[in-house]
């Protein structure tokens, strides 16, 4: 067992982890932050995406023990300080960018990372960026639309509600 200390969603946390404990497990089981989901075991689906030191990573592929001192942000830390939905979260609701909600935390975290590095991405750039996030419900239409809307682009010409 190794003791790790991190800042998660702005709060200092610490815990004992085995060498094999993944960040996703530490968040879900150690900290009971169950918004981060695990949808596969090959780092493909992206339901577990969180931000570590400002970068989006797949928390199923990072060892907690390696992240001593890291700043971690999860979906639980994405709302505005007053608890209202952030711009990206609100756009996902407004444009029906989620259905079952399981991939959603990873989608929101990836979308936030994308908009940080590319504030007005094209449809093509969004689709390419989401290559590592699989959604089975939405067919991606409304996810892409929501991210475009969150970046301030006019999506009224894109078909459907």
């Amino acid at each position: 067992m190794t003791q790790v200390t991190m800042t998660v969603n702005g709060k200092p946390v610490s815990g004992d982890v085995e060498g094999r404990t993944l960040l996703a497990e530490f968040l879900r089981e150690g900290l009971r932050l169950t918004g981060t989901h695990v949808g596969c075991d090959t780092s493909q689906c992206g339901a577990c995406v969180v931000h570590v030191n400002g970068t989006a990573i797949k928390s199923c592929t990072a060892l907690a023990a390696d992240l001593d001192g890291a700043e971690v942000v999860t979906i639980e830390g994405m709302a505005n300080p007053d608890g209202s939905l952030s711009t990206i979260q609100q756009a996902f609701q407004d444009h029906h960018g989620l259905q079952c909600g399981f991939c959603t935390p990873g989608m929101v975290m990836s979308a936030a990372a994308l908009l940080k590095e590319n504030p007005k991405p094209s449809e093509h750039e969004i689709r390419e960026y989401l290559e590592g996030n699989i959604c089975r419900c939405t067919g991606y239409h409304n996810i892409v639309k929501a991210i475009m809307a969150a970046s301030g682009q006019d999506v009224s010409a894109i078909a459907a509600e």
Binding site: R28, Q44, C45, I75, M78, G101, A159, A160
Partner: protein, 787 residues
């Protein structure tokens, strides 16, 4: 029709608030005090005899609590099948046992053999590696045609072969022979409908719990239908009466059919929790999901169309081999029969239709319903066939379809169903408006200049949804009724709770169901709470699949709400000293017709629970009603779909350039949610057509067992879709006039994609390519072009 609230409004989904902030509560988020974990040791061979299981070393591993094998389940029932198909001779299908843990033999890669229960998941996993299995590998049965050949190895030794049933349906031999004998033209198509893995993003999870105090078992599970699991597992597997068994399916991360069935892991966790008197949890990995979640599709079909000299359809004859896998999953036998054969008339007035299906056991994962379930298989073969026929006789594929459309309703098909309503020309007209067909040639020319081949594929579909009339499905072999239920509980202060047997796992029922009830009473949607997914809180229900939730579950909710309103009017009449027949309800206000007297909804609900001034001699206090609704027919959503593709002739790569869907879903409650349902279905259908395939090698090893190998559609594989559901012929037999929208996209889209690719190749001069089997990977397309 209001546009900002109630029926017809795109109300934003209330469930999104928890999902977007990480506050959803999925089954894997549930951890109980004292919980142990199970890891299943599964077969790594497709077929084998278990000669020995040595758990002695594993027992000594840290944290191990108990190791279960098949021997621990002797005397426990097997996993039951919910449907019994009768074959062409009138005999019941062959129905071999399906043990919770393998007994004697393993029959597919992934068949669970040993359950290791330990203090932590990691300890259970480590200890499972120390279990020594002595399994004698036997020849595997993988290919359906070989499975039916004389001398094939048998999946189940006690059966006389690998045939589950040989089923014939529809027109009799004389009628179908006559149709083909009169034909001026016969088109034949052989095809496969590729095996798919449903891949809900949330892997399955089960947590069993047992109360020694009350002798009650509780199962938390990723299910689309908790009552069905309670019934099947309680009555047939573990012998727990329903009043001692509670099944809870909380937030569920997608289903697509794969979470309908009762699975062995659920029974195991419930059983082990009672044995060990502590909770037992299992969380599937994705790798396990590929080898243990029921697969979908997997048909091999030969279909023929007979047309007269004027291109009128005379007959359709189809022969299908349908893979059941190693065991019969809950609804498996019904999928290639009653959800497939009944749809083989399609949108067309073909007088003779005959369907033959041979269901086959193989050493593969069980196959059951996956989004659409039988109806995509029917639609794909029929709509590919018509496209091929149009090409053969030089007809326009749209005109050929229109010529043969059913236009008079109700219409009784030769395959046992009666379409109540529809307007196939209307959805086709709408589709053509959406796709600019006239501009296609110019787009094709632009593609040609860029070195690409452009094609346009168009097709129709019809489906039978709103599953299902119990009396009818009972005749067809269902061992359950397919009604739905709802309890509406009005509180004293006017808010109300609807407890529904439908289950929401992405469909947004918490929003759309509330819209309906709020609209009926005329109160704000936020006064209505929807509760689902817990057998302790909801009346007996059959769950969500077959696009049934609004058509059947919503109808039950409407009926219960009507009872509420009827009683509330009696109370209002008493309060206003008026005649009950004069009471009108509008915008949450009860008034006496022709007067200015009125009382508010809240006055009436308060009176119901504080009956100081109340007609106690006429009606009971309280305001709570339950209704069960059993439909008297299926619903028949229909539509027309179009796909435009570009094929790169150098590589065979297909790019979807556009996809349009014009659907008739009857009345619509929440257009935003309906569009989302269509989008998701389209992605799955396009995925089937271009990307997805469950592949086994000849030894029954699964080659597509992770997201590295199973090609899930990703954002950059798909376009923005154009969807429309403004063509409305309301369902004639349910109170909302709704038909269901959950599966249409997956049903209607595969033939559009394949039709488009074949069109592109035909236009590009590859006249020899009349069909390519899905998925249309670059390798398959390139090989078809060049081979």
């Amino acid at each position: 029709m209001p546009t900002d609230h109630g029926i017809g409004a795109s109300s934003k989904r209330r469930e999104d608030l928890r999902f977007l902030t990480g506050r959803g509560r999925y089954t894997d988020d549930i951890n109980l005090q004292g919980q142990a974990f199970v890891h299943f040791l599964r077969s790594d061979v497709a077929h084998g005899r278990i000669n020995g299981i040595d758990t002695s070393e594993a027992e000594k591993m840290p944290g191990v609590i108990r190791i279960f094998t098949g021997a621990d389940f002797e005397g426990v029932g097997g996993i039951p099948c919910g449907w019994q198909v009768t074959d062409r001779e009138g005999n019941p299908m062959r129905e071999p046992p399906h043990p919770v843990l393998a007994q004697g033999k393993v029959r597919h890669v992934g068949d669970p053999i040993v359950g290791v229960v330990a203090e932590t998941a990691a300890q259970a996993r480590s200890a499972a590696e120390a279990v020594v299995l002595d399994i004698e590998e036997l020849p595997a049965v993988v290919d359906m045609r070989k499975a039916l050949a004389d001398g094939s190895a048998k999946v189940h030794d006690e059966l006389d072969g690998n045939l589950c049933y040989d089923w014939v349906f529809g027109s009799d031999d004389a009628a179908i022979d006559e149709a083909f004998s009169k034909a001026a033209h016969v088109t034949t198509l052989e095809l496969t409908n590729n095996r798919l893995s449903p891949n809900a993003m949330e892997p399955r999870v089960a947590v069993g719990d047992y109360s020694w105090a009350s002798d009650e078992s509780t199962l938390y599970t990723t299910s689309q239908n908790p009552h069905v699991i309670r019934l099947l597992m309680g009555a047939f597997v573990l012998g727990i009466p329903e009043h001692k068994l509670r099944v809870i399916a909380p937030d569920v991360g997608g289903g697509f059919g794969s979470k309908i069935y009762h699975y062995a892991e659920e029974a195991f966790c419930t059983f082990a929790a009672k044995q060990l008197r502590r909770p037992v949890k299992w969380t599937s990995t994705r790798s396990e999901a590929f080898i243990s979640d029921a697969h979908g599709r997997d048909h091999i079909t030969t279909i023929q169309l007979a047309m007269d000299a004027e291109n009128n359809f005379l007959g359709v004859r189809t022969d299908t081999l349908a893979n059941m896998g190693a065991y019969l999953s809950t609804f498996a036998p019904s999928i290639p029969t009653y959800l497939h054969g009944t749809l083989m008339a399609g949108n067309y007035k073909t007088p003779a239709v005959q369907v033959n299906v041979k269901a086959v056991f193989t050493n593969t994962v069980p196959v059951d319903a996956y989004r659409g379930a039988g109806r995509p298989e029917a639609t794909y073969q029929l709509e590919r066939l018509i496209d091929k026929a149009a090409r053969e006789v030089g007809a326009d594929p749209v005109a050929l379809r229109r010529q043969n459309f059913i236009t008079q309703f109700p219409y009784a098909t030769p395959v046992a169903v009666e379409y109540d309503t529809g307007d196939y020309n209307a959805t086709m007209d709408k589709l053509l408006e959406m796709i600019d067909r006239d501009g296609f040639e110019a787009r094709a020319e632009a593609s040609r200049k860029a070195g690409k081949l452009r094609g346009l594929g168009i097709n129709c579909y019809i489906e039978a949804c709103g599953i299902a009339p119990s009396a009818l499905v009972g005749q067809l072999g269902a061992r359950a009724g397919l009604y739905e239920s709802a309890t509406v509980r009005v509180n004293a202060t006017g808010g109300l709770v609807v407890m529904t047997g439908s289950h929401s796992h992405g469909q947004g029922h918490e929003t759309s169901f509330a819209q309906v009830v709020a609209d009926m009473i005329g109160i704000p949607e936020n006064m209505v709470e929807i509760v689902h997914g817990d057998t302790a809180n909801t009346p007996m229900g059959m769950g969500t699949y077959g696009s049934r939730s609004l058509a059947v579950g919503g109808s039950a909710m409407v009926r219960a709400t009507e009872k509420i309103i009827a009683k509330a009017k009696k109370i209002a009449a008493h309060l206003m000293e008026a005649s009950e027949g004069d009471i009108e309800l509008k915008d949450g206000q009860f008034s006496v017709a022709g007067t200015d007297k009125s009382v508010a909804w809240g006055d009436v609900t308060l009176a119901a629970y504080v009956p100081h001034n109340y007609p106690l001699d006429e009606i009971e206090p309280g305001l709570e009603e339950t209704a069960f609704y059993d439909p008297n027919n299926f619903t028949y959503p229909s539509g027309a779909y179009a796909c435009e593709v570009e094929v790169d002739p150098e590589t065979g790569k297909v790019q979807v350039m556009g996809f349009a869907a014009a659907d008739d879903f009857g009345n619509i409650v929440n257009p935003m949610i309906v569009s989302g349902q269509v989008h998701g279905g389209l992605a799955q259908g396009i995925g089937q057509a271009l990307l997805e395939n469950v592949a086994y090698d000849e030894n029954g090893q699964l080659l597509s067992a992770s997201y590295m190998d199973y090609a899930m559609p990703r954002a950059d594989d798909l376009p923005f879709y154009k969807v429309d559901h403004s063509s409305v012929t309301p369902c004639t037999h349910n109170p909302l006039g709704v038909k269901g929208c959950g599966e249409a996209g997956a049903i209607g889209s595969p033939p559009a994609v394949v039709n488009a690719v074949v069109d592109a190749l035909q236009r590009g001069g590859y006249a020899h390519v009349t069909h390519i089997d899905m998925p249309l990977t670059p390798a398959r397309v390139w090989s078809a072009m060049n081979g």
